[in-house]
């Protein structure tokens, strides 16, 4: 059937159609309410406007969601990313403040490297609990989700630590070639992940583990190593996200930094079309999902929704998007049914 499908049919069946459509509709709503929403101008040598802010603010969620995508593809979940982000920020900021020359580039680089190393170790700890000890991912990562915030509070003594380092600040507020550096970093991690998983067999192996770890192990796939690796990668991504969030305000508040970002990330992954049941994933979908989350966050102040209704508005939008994604609901909208919808689902392995 795929070879006979016309272009329209291919577009209609493309798994990215609905997430992209949702994003476009959300952007259009913003333009209708505030016609200058798309305005972009140059400001101090870089682009400035709502869209620029959106891609910049999407960076932390995108980073966390990339790690989460691979974890979810192995049929796992990582709830500890928010806590890991907080630890990463706490470690980096306390090291910058404690360094001899607070404003030096080397201080920032060393502090960030150190923080990311800690995060990879924490991610590997999650991987160890899941793959070696065999604890359910949701429980295994819950341990660090709860304890991690305590650790980050202990590192900062429960205080808001403010740093003064221009290089560190540039992580979130800097611009390269008029584009926000934070987004370029997130995009860089996205491209690297895509190349690693889609240009090598790694992506397929991850999906194989997600479909059936035992069978893939018997088939010669080193399931344990793969699971271990994806959790460590998720820890790394959360660590980078934590650094970006801290750099955004030049400070770390261990209480609130990265709070609930795991839920935003899971939502971004799901909106992007990756199945929580594991076995298939779409990195491009995750990118669209993260942009959608950031646009949603911008939509609320832009169209002036009262604070009390924030969550309700978010809930309505998310429900609408999830309904759009549901094959059953979509089937209701389809005028001409082209055979049963099951085969369409089965071949839905995304790019």
């Amino acid at each position: 059937m795929p070879e006979t499908a016309t272009l329209t049919q291919r577009v209609l069946r493309h798994p990215l159609l609905w997430p992209v459509l949702a994003l476009v509709v959300l952007l259009l709503i913003n333009v209708v309410v505030k016609p200058n929403f798309f305005d972009i101008r140059m400001q101090d040598g870089h682009l400035y406007g709502n869209l620029v802010d959106i891609v910049r603010n999407s960076a932390p969620v995108l980073l966390v969601a990339l790690g989460m995508t691979l974890v979810i593809a192995t049929r796992g979940i990582d709830l500890s990313v928010g806590a890991i982000a907080a630890i990463s920020a706490a470690v980096a900021c306390t090291r910058i403040v404690g360094a001899g020359d607070e404003a030096a580039l080397t201080t920032a680089v060393l502090a960030c490297t150190y923080a990311l190393a800690v995060c990879i170790v924490l991610g590997a700890w999650n991987g160890f609990l899941v793959s070696v000890v065999g604890i359910q991912p949701i429980i295994a990562t819950l341990i660090l989700m709860v304890a991690g915030r305590g650790i980050s509070m202990a590192i900062t003594d429960g205080q808001i630590t403010t740093v003064r380092n221009g290089w560190f600040s540039d992580l979130a507020s800097g611009y390269v070639l008029t584009l926000p550096l934070a987004f370029i970093i997130a995009l860089g991690v996205f491209v690297l992940t895509a190349i690693l998983t889609r240009r090598t067999a790694l992506g397929m192996l991850i999906e194989a583990v997600g479909i059936n770890p035992e069978a893939s192990r018997l088939a010669g796939v080193r399931s344990r190593t793969i699971i271990w690796t994806v959790y460590a990668f998720s820890g790394f991504c959360a660590g980078v996200a934590g650094l970006v969030i801290a750099a955004n305000t030049n400070s770390v508040n261990a209480n609130s930094l990265g709070l609930w970002i795991e839920l935003d990330a899971i939502l971004a992954v799901v909106i992007g079309g990756t199945s929580l049941a594991g076995g298939r994933f779409s990195l491009t979908g995750t990118l669209v999902g993260a942009l959608f989350i950031a646009t949603l966050a911008r939509t609320i102040p832009n169209i002036g929704i009262p604070s009390e209704l924030n969550y309700l508005f978010k809930a309505v939008v998310v429900i609408a998007v999830c309904l759009l994604q549901s094959p059953k609901v979509r089937a209701l909208f389809r005028v001409h049914r082209r055979g049963p919808s099951v085969p369409v689902l089965a071949k839905g392995s995304a790019a």
Binding site: Q43, V133, G158, I160, S251, L257, S307
Partner: protein, 332 residues
């Protein structure tokens, strides 16, 4: 086997975390409350959630020492059940007076009735409880958030000519609200609206929650700045959101404190620094240093004197010159 051992091990670690929350009250022993004239106070703190709270804890501990009051201190780590446990243990230890900063507003009647039955007076600090029975506590010492909002609004009214940064006769105010539903957020917003209603040229054109955090304040302010309408004044309901907003304003190529006048509440160190640097125009203090007042009230209650059921913390406001002066001695 290994799996089970590890699960057990992590369970033990987790419960150890829980126990440390109320670990400090076990060391005091059970019979320190005495009849030798010295006063023993049991204090159940919310947790170490911010610099403000840490300063609050320090103030209480230091002033207890100065007043010669034996203080038993517990940290509830933001959990009501820990706080209730701590209060129960104070009742068992027969302390002379119990003071605490309730984590949440409701659910205190049972444990406060136990204290009342044991004849131990209770003083609330900083946060109120929502109970119909006001005989459950002697006094509530804390800030009046409505007054704080009014002070902030009054500044705009008093400085209307100066605050109208584009000189068009209308003063457009944007507001960064605290966490939706939190008492300080509701009351500060109310007080502010109340005060600015005195001048019809002052109008809140946009208001949105920034969750009391710098990141939240920055992101919402970014959006406000993109709206295209001129903003004269920013009212941030705490310093942190104001500090985040300053970064957004600077990124937009505007000068905080000049192009947009900024008013915040709290007066924590970083906020005072920004005020002294000219990036904030006015800060309404919300002081955590209520220790001396608390010890005073405790003594009065135990001497059988009548105390006011509602006592306000001694607080002030700061403009830029006052901030520069006060900054070196700022404890938090």
């Amino acid at each position: 086997m290994l799996k089970k051992t590890l699960i057990a091990a992590s369970a033990i670690t987790l419960s150890a975390f829980a126990f440390t929350a109320c670990g400090s009250d076990s060391e005091g022993g059970s019979s320190t409350a005495s009849d030798d004239g010295s006063i023993t106070m049991g204090f159940a703190q919310v947790g170490a959630e911010s610099g403000w709270r840490t300063a609050n804890t320090k103030s209480i501990q230091e002033s207890a020492k100065d007043a010669g009051i034996d203080l038993k201190f517990t940290d509830a780590q933001g959990k009501q059940e820990n706080q209730i446990q701590a209060i129960r243990s104070y009742i068992q230890q027969k302390v002379d007076v119990i003071a605490f900063s309730p984590v949440v507003e409701t659910g205190w009647d049972a444990v406060l009735n136990e204290a009342k039955a044991a004849g131990i007076p209770v003083i609330l600090t900083d946060r109120a409880v929502d109970s119909k029975d006001t005989s459950l506590y002697k006094s509530f010492l804390g800030s009046d958030f409505v007054v704080e909002g009014q002070k902030a609004g009054q500044w705009v009214v008093d400085n209307a000519a100066d605050a109208d940064t584009d000189g068009d006769g209308a003063i457009n105010v944007v507001q960064l609200e605290g966490t939706t539903g939190a008492a300080p957020a509701i009351d500060r917003g109310e007080g502010f609206a109340d005060a600015i209603s005195a001048d019809p040229s002052i109008k809140v054109v946009a208001s949105q929650t920034g969750d009391f955090t710098r990141d939240g304040g920055k992101q919402v302010m970014e959006s406000f700045l993109q709206s295209g309408d001129h903003i004269d004044v920013l009212f941030a309901q705490n310093d942190d959101m104001g500090l985040g907003a300053i970064e957004a304003i600077e990124a937009a190529g505007l000068t905080p404190g000049k192009d947009i006048k900024i008013i915040t509440v709290d007066a924590v160190h970083d906020g005072m620094q920004a005020l002294s640097d000219g990036k904030i125009n006015f800060i309404v203090e919300c002081s955590p240093l209520l220790g001396p007042q608390l010890m005073d009230i405790a003594k009065k209650v135990l001497d059988g004197e009548d105390v006011e059921p509602r006592i306000l913390t001694e607080e002030t406001t700061f403009d830029q010159a006052q901030a520069t002066e006060a900054l070196p001695d700022r404890q938090y």
